[in-house]
Symmetry: C2
Subunit: 364 residues, 2 copies
Amino acid sequence: MAGDSGADGDNSGTGTHPTKDGKKATIRDVAKKAKVSLGTVSNVLNDPERVAPATRNRVLKAIEVTGFVRNIAARQLRGGGSKAVGIVILDSSNPFFTEMIRGAEDALRQEGYLLIACSTDGSSDREAMYLRHLEEHQVEGVLITPSNDDLDQIIDFHDRGTPVVLVDREANSGELCSVTVDDVKGGSIAISHLVEDGHRKILFVNGPMSIRQCRDRRAGVDVALKGQRSPHATDWIEVIDLEVPSLSIAAGEEISLELLNIDPSISAIMCANDLLAIGVMRGLASSGSDLLSRVALVGYDDITFSSLVSPALTSVHQPQYDLGYAAARLLLEELSDSGHRHHEIRFTPDLVVRESSIKKSSPA
Amino acid sequence: MAGDSGADGDNSGTGTHPTKDGKKATIRDVAKKAKVSLGTVSNVLNDPERVAPATRNRVLKAIEVTGFVRNIAARQLRGGGSKAVGIVILDSSNPFFTEMIRGAEDALRQEGYLLIACSTDGSSDREAMYLRHLEEHQVEGVLITPSNDDLDQIIDFHDRGTPVVLVDREANSGELCSVTVDDVKGGSIAISHLVEDGHRKILFVNGPMSIRQCRDRRAGVDVALKGQRSPHATDWIEVIDLEVPSLSIAAGEEISLELLNIDPSISAIMCANDLLAIGVMRGLASSGSDLLSRVALVGYDDITFSSLVSPALTSVHQPQYDLGYAAARLLLEELSDSGHRHHEIRFTPDLVVRESSIKKSSPA
DNA sequence: ATAAGTTTTTGAAACGTTTCAATAACTCAA
DNA sequence: TTGAGTTATTGAAACGTTTCAAAAACTTAT
């Protein structure tokens, strides 16, 4: 092996450069430069202990001089992974999801993975399209908040070979990993807070009952009320249901018009999520209503801005960042463990009490 | 060509399935099933007019039966594009950026591209790491808000072959496409609003002058004041500068403590972005201060929640969604036009007046 | 110098898809 | 039927990287 004395003079002067015909440097260029085989270059990249130090340094030098950047597609074709994970969410303008993405990104970055972000806006067709694209890309896994209750297309996708972790959604029967928050419990602690504050007639502004989260949060209300109704209870707690078509600020604003004339004995409003609650607040303020000086308001999610609105919103805190982080870690575990068993991580929500529910007088 | 009578009996009954050894179906399996060549299958997928209808239908049937899903890595290796674009932003918890991502995603989805989201949190090292990963993945382009003023690593990245569009940042001298908002103009219209309302002593809470947007917005203030000072002006307008270390809610809250004792002749505060302004509001509210009932407040960005805080924030509106959408469209143009010339799209901001700056009495 | 054991390097083949020159098949007119 | 022109299909080779059996090189003991 004659020493490479650096006298071969191609592309003298500059540090990094493509090959002479303008193409990006490949492993073949590095091998030629270092006067070793393709396999040796690959070993330096992937199994450096297997290469003698002198050879290894020569190859590393050649990598630097040629400006070589590995081609993931070639590696992937030969059997390597894509080092990419998809995340499929409902709505990227809801801070609930952007915090979740942040958690997932942080976890994946630690392992050198890229995160492909996809928003379905609740469309099953768009979800299918994204899953198809992700499958063509051979992503190593997908974190997904389903667009609807029907998991069939997600199960099919998973059965075709891509690991899936459900986020904020349980699997039906252990066929997938999932990360959730106990929304039944969340509903319970919200309503309990209001009941303990003396409220006896409470309006529940919910989203579509076809959405599982809406069903669970409402179910939590029932669980809490059952626990409150001891045999010798002397007062009666009533919950009035109002369903809106979507869990958005706009839907909250729209329903606020109906709240202007609500039964005066209603002393509290619980909303199925913070965007709804914020929309209600906004709509009432626009109408010049002072309803919220009389009536307590509780939201659900505790998104970043809930503490910033006025009155600051009491809300059931969901650990959004932790959801994303835990989901990504679960997926990474599944990727590294061939004998992986699916399981669920369930977070417990807690209530953050702020101005919107404090010191409202309940009716005598 | 004997007809395929469906009597070959492999995997009978189910619609889609992998090959007999559990691997995903490849183009080779489709070709075998349809009794055509690999090239014919590829033509059906990529140039269907070139295939006779009877053959084409047979191949499409085989694609369905085998459950074939194209492998992008193989296509990419042979010379096709990755159908993926990276977007590199500063902070995914700032609604300014999440709206921008949304615009980019919508534009790219129309052309069948996936969006890879990367947050730098202002770190140049992290930016370098992401650029490297994106390069290995051979993304077809990158939309990027630079982590700092030094564009060197981004230019190098671009020079190595990946198209780049700067977002909310100008290129230095036409070497890259960019999409920006005229922050000088934005600063001007904000301060003009305050001056027209009669304010003569105005505090400017800015971020680090090392950040170009902060410099531009402040420069806009000077431009507007020059225009206001006619030779025979009888009153004097004074702007007092206060610099904070970061453009965040937290920094705004912290500086609000210093605002408790400001010169009473200051009748207006302009903040370099909405997060700062919201932090100031929050901090003042926490301190029980009624400063904002006397002093006008103006922010910059008009993020989604600025209308929801109290008082609703007057703010310079940046078209965040449009920034992202336009950047992605610029990139797509560059990809489809081999004679592409770089250019810049510059949006003009406009002021949205809300409660925070209305009807404050300026000092006599 | 020779043999045995260990370390290092090599290079052929695989991966899935696309491309295009060559071949085969088809159609129509004489 | 034959020949010319057109359409449709084929299949070899390329793309960049990894893998692993085989070969080469090195080290140590006799």
